[in-house]
């Protein structure tokens, strides 16, 4: 007996975001950190901040922490992103 059966997945891709243009250099740029606020993020971002400034000539690092580490970033953080050249979103698990 032949079965004709249906695809159970959404099939269509979710609304795709577009990648922002890649940066040629980090020198003089403003980099935003979006931390999920977990314990492990503290050392990670502290080290990354130092590395970006000292080794890559980053002009400014802006650190923000989500109010809920299980939910998307708060609106006020997302609104700030347009003022940054790049974002590092970090997990602390």
């Amino acid at each position: 007996m032949t079965f004709r059966v249906l695809d159970p997945t959404t099939e269509k891709a979710p609304p795709a975001g577009r990648l922002a243009p890649r940066l040629d250099t980090l020198e003089g740029k403003t980099i935003g950190f979006i931390s999920n606020g977990k314990e492990g993020t503290k050392g990670f971002f502290k080290h990354l901040d130092q590395m970006l400034r000292e080794e890559y000539g980053v002009a400014k690092v802006v650190s923000r922490t989500k109010s809920n580490y299980s939910a998307p970033a708060d609106k006020h953080i997302v609104d700030e992103i347009k003022g940054w050249d790049a974002v590092v979103s970090g997990l602390g698990d």
Partner: protein, 350 residues
Amino acid sequence: MQLASKTYDANDISAVQELYHSSGWTDGLPIVPPTADAVQACLEWAMMPPDQLIGIEPVRGLAITAEKLAINAVMAGCLPMHFPVVVTAWMAMMQDEFLMHGATASTGGCAVLVVLNGPIRLELGANGTFNALGNSDRATAVIGRAVRLCLINLMDVRPGVIDRSTLGHPGKYSYCLAEDEEDSSWLPLHEQRGVERAASAVTVMAAGAPRQIMNEWTTKPEEILETFAAEMRANLRHYSIHPGNYALIIPKQLREHLQAAGWTKTDIATFIHERARIHRREWAEVGKGAVVRDRGDSVYPAMESPDQLLVIAAGGPAGGFGAVIPPWLGNKSHAVTLPLGVCIDCEPPK
């Protein structure tokens, strides 16, 4: 009725199983082949056209249609009469306060607990007595499984993909129970949470595994409930101090003592709210001294307020047992109760 999903031809039932397993579309158990006839029967029962938008998943913007829910419901073993419950559960899960993405992706590994109330339980033969949290009956088994298969296939909540659970728990196969309203003098859960008693309703909660308690040696409500509260304190110590929705499952033997003493669900929740709390310094007793810091005197209640406790009458008639079902991670997700839609003068879909 025209379905939009891509179709596949399989030579026999084994080929169907291998197609779905090898595509990552199952929970590891065999599925019922989702043929157009079976899927259309679900949609007709619910009086929904295939492209009816049930909701948009809030984080990734995924459109959830009736057709896709029905395909997964059939795969789980649902009959058409089970399908409206699956739809309502998903509508509840897509409310912002449920935080479906976080709850289903988290390393915390919770499952979606689905509680059925109202006349639909009797129509479906959902059993709130023997083995209420286990394989109690067909309806709760397939509804709970359908909720999980929809997560797997519609949101990519597959282990190691969106599902990042460290451990998970057995409720992730199916975690659905019906309240035993007939053998209880308490308000049913849905009425307690603001839905008309005469309506049928579905409550969803991002939930850890049940923690079973036993106290057969007293009839005093305070002593019975102290055992439940102690289990909640253990959860606060061993798992998480975040307050949120806890569920208490209270079977008949213990329920009768509480009801004979005139205790309502509200009385129970008020008592539990007072008793289920710990000091942060207690974490030092269970190996978590490093995070007590200078806040040892801070007090952490299991719930922010008594109304966060879901008290559910369910379980077999004998045994001084009960269960505490803890939240995934406190208030990050809130339980949601929705009535089953009732359509007056609806036209069946074309």
